[in-house]
Symmetry: C2
Subunit: 330 residues, 2 copies
């Protein structure tokens, strides 16, 4: 090895980390403003051994809601779009579904009927599309769907719709020794299929709702079968429970966008000065959507919005804080 | 920096890994034999980019049962010893427990009565000692117990009873980029208190049984309360389910000791040539315990023992394979 290469490696080795002053902007898609400053300062302090808010690497846990925080949740959460497309695709093999009012409403696009049926109706549709299938076959179905489906407004595959500024936050945190977990109401098995490609988040950092599963050994072949029946809903007060169950550590950073994320924002930040709570406020109907108190489907943001000032949670104003929303934006 | 230091760092950097021939024995507490060779060869092959069985680092997942695999499970699993000690300690505050036959049997050491009560009796005792308490207070109780309790035979704190040869396996695997998960029938919240100190296994790599929990915000203070009611039993066919739920990847190495580990041994190894399945066979009544078909309490090993040859699972003969069982052995 030449002396030059050796010197270069040593240089890279010793100048990595927070001591390196001449760093490029880690969040170039963000306009300068209080939220960007809060994120950059939080990372600088928590990774600086000399700072009173320094946090050792194993405890650098950041949790992110998914729908509405890392990608859109309109006109419907993307997993519901998958459910509807799956019902349509498989309807020919299941003539009995034609007698099911909820299925008919879903495939005919009468979502108000599905919504009126509440959790019971949703779970019925999930049982039809997410159960009595092996984990392997289910993952293949999600992959196949992602290749074909297009978002109705943006006319792109759903997995191209991650928010560009949030991808920067994920990468920035990971580059500083954070582990970036998804903590979403969406299904574990659904999200793990694409979370690594879309966000760089590996399967073991994806936490979500889950249904019953069963281990089956048949003809000397082991299989995990997804069964009907939701076992855990990872939303609202369920999110801190899931964080404790899956990680066993309290996060120091939390990003959400709706009242479903209020409990995990509280669990992350209350009484803990060296933490960061951030809420994505959907204020941009031109580039994405504008909603909070009265969303069309999910993502209601009322209580967490009211609590933000007293909790010190930072509000992302999508319209002014983000130079671009999607990577394909000009 | 001097050229000498620079050269030394580059040397260390480029010679680390499987190419470095002059390595010390990674398993010095193991006698040479087929199991030691199987473990060493498996690690060499799965970490050698030139080998057909090479496995990229993110997929190097190894799972370990705990009771009977990483530390003893006799005369009773250590968590049951904790339950009994907790019942005794708190009995004065709970005079109503004196009317409970199962509690009385437990505190009076009549374990055959507890065992005769089956899962129902055990869950009753778990609800009394593991519920209606915050996760923080519960962890403190476990810590306090570990400081005071002594194993009846070895007269040591329970957390000094890890098997020395298995600690070497854990360290060896982690030094080669493996993540070493516990997948145990024991309680998540119980194990996470000491797993990092005892095994070097951080909370997020500890998978176990768990009960219901509830997030409570009271007087602006968020708490997670453990509630009565087992939600998931991480044993037998539950183990592959838990592995999929918590990790989302199929392990490539699995260590167990009883029929409770058979399903996860199958899930790890069947039809996957680049994997490792190992069973700790308790053959050493002098230094530890000898049991398989008829254990005194838990740890029955019959079906997995019968299947081992056809599955290619390696049997650790504790008596001949291990030079020492505990770190304090001569």
């Amino acid at each position: 090895m030449s002396h030059f290469v050796c010197t270069w490696i040593c240089f890279a080795f010793f100048t990595a980390g927070p001591a390196f002053a001449e760093q490029p902007d880690p969040l170039p898609t963000w306009n300068d403003g209080p939220v960007k400053r809060a994120v950059v300062d939080f990372v600088a302090n928590s990774t600086d051994p000399a700072h009173p808010h320094f946090v050792p690497e194993p405890e650098r846990i950041a949790v992110f809601d998914n729908d509405g925080t890392l990608w859109p949740e309109n006109p419907v959460p993307f997993q519901l779009a998958f459910v509807i497309d799956e019902l349509k695709r498989r309807l020919p093999e299941h003539p009995e579904w034609n007698d099911n009012e909820i299925v008919k409403a879903a495939v005919e696009g009468r979502l108000e009927t599905v919504v009126a049926g509440g959790t019971k109706a949703l779970i019925e549709l999930l049982n039809l599309t997410h159960a009595e299938v092996s984990t392997e076959v289910f993952a293949d179905r999600v992959r196949q769907w992602l290749r074909q489906a297009r978002h109705p407004r943006f006319d792109r595959p759903y997995d191209e719709l991650a928010y560009a500024p949030m991808l920067e936050v994920l990468n920035f945190l990971r580059s500083r020794g954070f582990r970036t977990y998804i903590v979403s109401g969406g299904g574990l098995d659904f999200m793990r299929v694409w979370a690594e490609d879309v966000y760089g988040i590996p399967p073991e950092w994806v936490i979500g709702s889950y249904a019953r599963a069963e281990y089956v050994l048949e003809n000397d072949r082991p299989t995990l079968m997804k069964r009907p029946g939701v076992e855990f809903i990872d939303d609202k007060a369920g999110k801190p429970v899931a964080i404790e169950r899956f990680i066993g550590r309290r996060p120091i950073a939390c990003f959400g966008n709706s009242d479903g994320d209020k409990a995990m924002l509280e669990w992350t930040t209350i009484g803990r000065p060296n933490t960061l709570g951030v809420i994505v406020h959907h204020t941009d109907a031109d580039r994405e959507y504008a909603y909070d108190a009265a969303p069309k489907s999910t993502g209601k943001l009322v209580e967490a919005l009211a609590d933000a000032p007293k909790r010190g949670w930072h509000m992302i104003d999508m319209k002014t804080d983000w130079k671009r929303v999607f990577t394909f934006d000009p």
